[in-house]
């Protein structure tokens, strides 16, 4: 297989601002970030509550959320497909094969990552954080925010990992997005499609973008942690 020519073509596509390629990147980023923005706050709150509040069934909920971490994304896609399909209970919304359907799928996929990482960060926090905040006059909500701020690097790791999981996800995107050019074709589905057609240049370019994103996210986390994160 000739690798040099497709690679050269890949970089040409990237650096000449190929409209189709950058549209795919835009769809990937916008859907992933929208999903994180929507599911991030409730997931972080849920992770905090599971970590801090004792309630019946807490252990079962933790096991369920942890199990969801390894849930195949294509199955998530299948469930959402069935819900959104014309005969499905949510078919009237007409969301199947739209970016909104992909965002819903990403939210479901990101939720366990965000909850488990937040739960772990809060459980690892010094119990004196919450007590100190309360003792200094903070209400329950404010003390929770203070605790989350104290474990902010763990919460950021949750968000970045959630982003990493959804931005590189194929199964659900194809199932509920349909890989429609210019509408729901994102980086991983485009790579799968182009590779299956034997067109490697775009796949290499998009793969390069994914790798840069993955590295960028980790570098950003490391920079944000800085000295404050290294106790």
């Amino acid at each position: 297989m000739e690798l040099l020519e497709p690679t050269r073509e890949a970089f040409r596509l990237l650096f000449t601002g190929d409209a189709e390629l950058w549209r795919i990147i835009f769809i990937s980023l916008s859907c992933s970030l929208a999903a994180l923005l929507l599911i991030g706050p409730p997931s972080v709150a849920l992770g905090f509550l599971i970590a801090k509040v004792a309630f019946p069934g807490r252990r079962a909920l933790v096991v369920l959320v942890q199990a969801l971490l390894s849930f195949p994304t294509v199955v998530v896609g299948l469930v959402i497909y069935m819900l959104l399909s014309r005969q499905g209970p949510l078919g009237f919304l007409k969301l199947l094969f739209t970016p909104e359907a992909m965002i819903i799928g990403y939210m479901v996929i990101a939720l366990p990552v965000l909850v488990v990482f937040t739960l772990s960060a809060v459980q690892g926090a010094d119990p004196r954080v919450y007590e100190t905040a309360r003792s200094l006059g903070a209400g329950k909500y404010r003390a929770a925010v203070t605790t989350l701020f104290e474990v902010r690097f763990g919460v950021m790791a949750a968000l970045f990992n959630g982003f990493g999981r959804v931005v590189s996800e194929v199964g659900c995107s194809i199932m509920v997005g349909g890989n429609i050019a210019g509408l729901t074709r994102n980086i991983p589905t485009a790579i799968a499609l182009e590779t299956s057609k034997g067109e490697f240049a775009q796949g290499i370019a998009l793969g390069f973008v994914l790798i840069v994103l993955a590295l960028g996210v980790n570098v950003a986390l490391s920079v944000l942690q800085g000295e404050g994160g290294m106790k």
Binding site: T132, A133, R134, S135, G137, A138, G139, T146, E227, G228
Partner: protein, 218 residues
């Protein structure tokens, strides 16, 4: 004229295999300094934490400034009157000034006033030279002094200190003792759980002793 800030009656607290507090009664007068002594594990910390609303009591009555407090539903307003400082205080991983400003912010003190009060508290605790050092880099004594400044700046109705000089070296201990002594001039009612002989021997300090689940004055 002095009046009771805190009155406890028949306070009880049990753990699964132990009855820790078996009817604690005492009263603290406004502006007074009190030291609570007792053997390790006798319940001093638990008692302070119950008063601060950080732990639930099994029964008993608490009055603060004459008002009866339902220990089952510790009022949020009371949290703004009492400040509890852990044996090893926790400082938020931000900065010293931010730590001291935290409680003021929770009380809605305007920014300018807050900055002024923080500045005064930093000078009072003698931690101005620490500047922007992050809390996790401070020594135990420095953390204790910042925590005392953070508590004192709130001008609490009652300040609860849990073993403030434990695990400190001599210098740090002396500086902490000086701040505790200085609190007396600030008209703050202080209750200190401690084994420190120097605190126990302070002339103005009234001594309470917790033994077999009950408190008696010495």
């Amino acid at each position: 004229m002095s009046y009771p800030v805190l009155e406890l009656k028949s306070l009880i607290k049990s753990f699964p295999q132990r009855e820790l507090l078996r009817g604690v009664d005492f009263a603290l007068e406004a502006g007074g300094s009190y030291v609570l002594t007792g053997d390790n594990g006798c319940g001093k910390t638990t008692l302070l934490r119950i008063v601060a609303g950080l732990e639930a009591a099994d029964g008993g009555m608490l009055r603060f400034k004459g008002a009866a407090i339902d220990l089952g539903h510790y009022p949020e307003a009371l949290r703004r009157e009492l400040v509890y400082v852990h044996q090893q205080p926790y400082l938020f991983n931000t900065g010293i000034a931010h730590n001291i400003a935290y409680g003021l912010k929770m009380r809605g003190v305007p920014k300018r006033r807050r900055e002024l009060l923080v500045e005064e508290a930093i000078a009072w605790a003698g931690v101005g030279h620490l500047g922007s050092v992050l809390p996790h880099k401070l020594s135990g004594g420095e953390k204790q002094r910042v925590a005392l400044a953070r508590a004192k700046v709130l001008n609490p109705g009652l300040l609860l200190l849990d073993e403030p000089t434990a695990n400190l070296d001599n210098d740090a201990r002396r500086q902490t003792l000086a701040l505790i002594e200085a609190l007396r001039h600030e008209d703050v009612t202080v209750m200190i759980a401690s084994h420190d002989r120097e605190i126990i021997a302070m002339p103005h300090v009234e001594r309470l002793h917790l033994e077999a689940g009950r408190v008696r004055a010495l």
